[in-house]
Amino acid sequence: MKNNIKQGLGHYVLYFLLPIIILIAWEWADIAGLLKSYTMPAPIAIVNTFIEYLQNGKLLTNIGVSLVRVVEGFLLALAVGFAIGIGVSIFPKFDTFTDLVIQTLRPIPPIAWIPLAILWFGIGQGSKVFIIFLGAFFPIFINTTEGVKNIDGRFFELAEVYEIPKQKLITKIVIPGALPQIMTGIRLGLGNAWVCVVAAEMIGATSGVGFMLSDGRSLSRPDIVILGMLIVGIFGKIMDDLLKALNKRLIKWQ
């Protein structure tokens, strides 16, 4: 049933219907003279800016810069969040040792770290990667520990019966058992990473998609701002789709 809806042409019509309605309404508002080009440009102005930025290379450069930052910060967060998450789950003493610090840092929004990050690392790559790391770390860490906690305790009893050594226990029971939730953490983490790169670049940067936004504002060019926002949205969705596909491949037993 569900598949039928997904495969049919009707599905795609429905899927793209709302964006098309929004575009038409937007265009109509422009024709009706409701928009002022210095606050809200017409769709065509965005397209023109898109072509202009594509030709002068600014678009791809800025996207590239932001993507590299996101990938660096995210991979760092993935490695650290996963490792500490598993560590905390299997060594209760390590959990007690780290818990207060981690749980106190967690409620601080990554954006609140931006002033310190700029003081520590300057406005270059370092401060961005740091903010992105913070944004992606917590969802990955929390979901790893929760994922391990939610593994059916009966599997650990099974491991006792068959005298499964600790290292096998981790690779064959703990990690795969927690994997669905770890993947949820990874998706949330990557989403956060993308939000953080934009925020960090808006506040202090000379390149990147977030810089495009703040640059557009100071040039009074809402078309640039909107183009930047669209790029953030579209790339965010593409990255999430990729992770969803990866999720399906990794968790093929369900």
Binding site: E163, I173, P176
Partner: protein, 255 residues
Amino acid sequence: MGIILEIKGLKKTFEDKSNVVNALEDINLSIEEGSLVSVIGGSGCGKSTLLRIIGGLETEYEGEIIVDGKAVTGPSREKGFIFQDHRLLPWLTVKENIRLSLPEEQKNNDSLIRENLEIVELGEFENAYPSQLSGGMAQRVAIARALANKPRILLLDEPFGALDAITKIHLQDQLLRIWKEEKITMIIVTHDIDEAVYLGSRVVVMTPRPGRIKRIEKIELGTPRRRTGSLFTQERDKIYKEFFKETELPFTYNI
């Protein structure tokens, strides 16, 4: 044959803040090597607790549990344990589930895995995931997994409790065949009187609060065992009488 399992003066209490449960009291039992013993009793009479203690999964108790001349200190491959649920890891195929359970030196022994899957007649399913198996098939894989580890004694806690009647009968016959071929000592816990009588050469009847052994019934069904006929009915009635008064006895026909 010798005695493989000896239980002496076993007593087990569960305590929490508010109350104390006498789960088992004064349990004495010896089990001969190669025998198949069923343990039957109502809900809460301590059957699972008894089996878990024998299996080493429960280690706080009074009394002595001796398997093969050694006191039990914890779980081990020697004491195969079949849980009521199949307990297969959903992310591993049938084959990998079995492989994970094997001792280090047998890890790559694919023919051992195959051999044991064939014993439970599931040779073609080695690459299936547990979600692709029916409940009965999954339980058979669990049995193959236990057998592959060459246990000295196999402990089964209501292994067929969750299955439909037809599947259950098939699996009981399969279990009997395995028992005869592999000559493994088995203790099967059940709350199904027919199952207890059909499988066990002895039936241990337990009563609750505190969990005690009420009596141990020797079952003579002749060979091959049959589920119908007067011999079976007679033996079953003996067990029924342990639980119900004469007048409550379900009516049975003897032709």
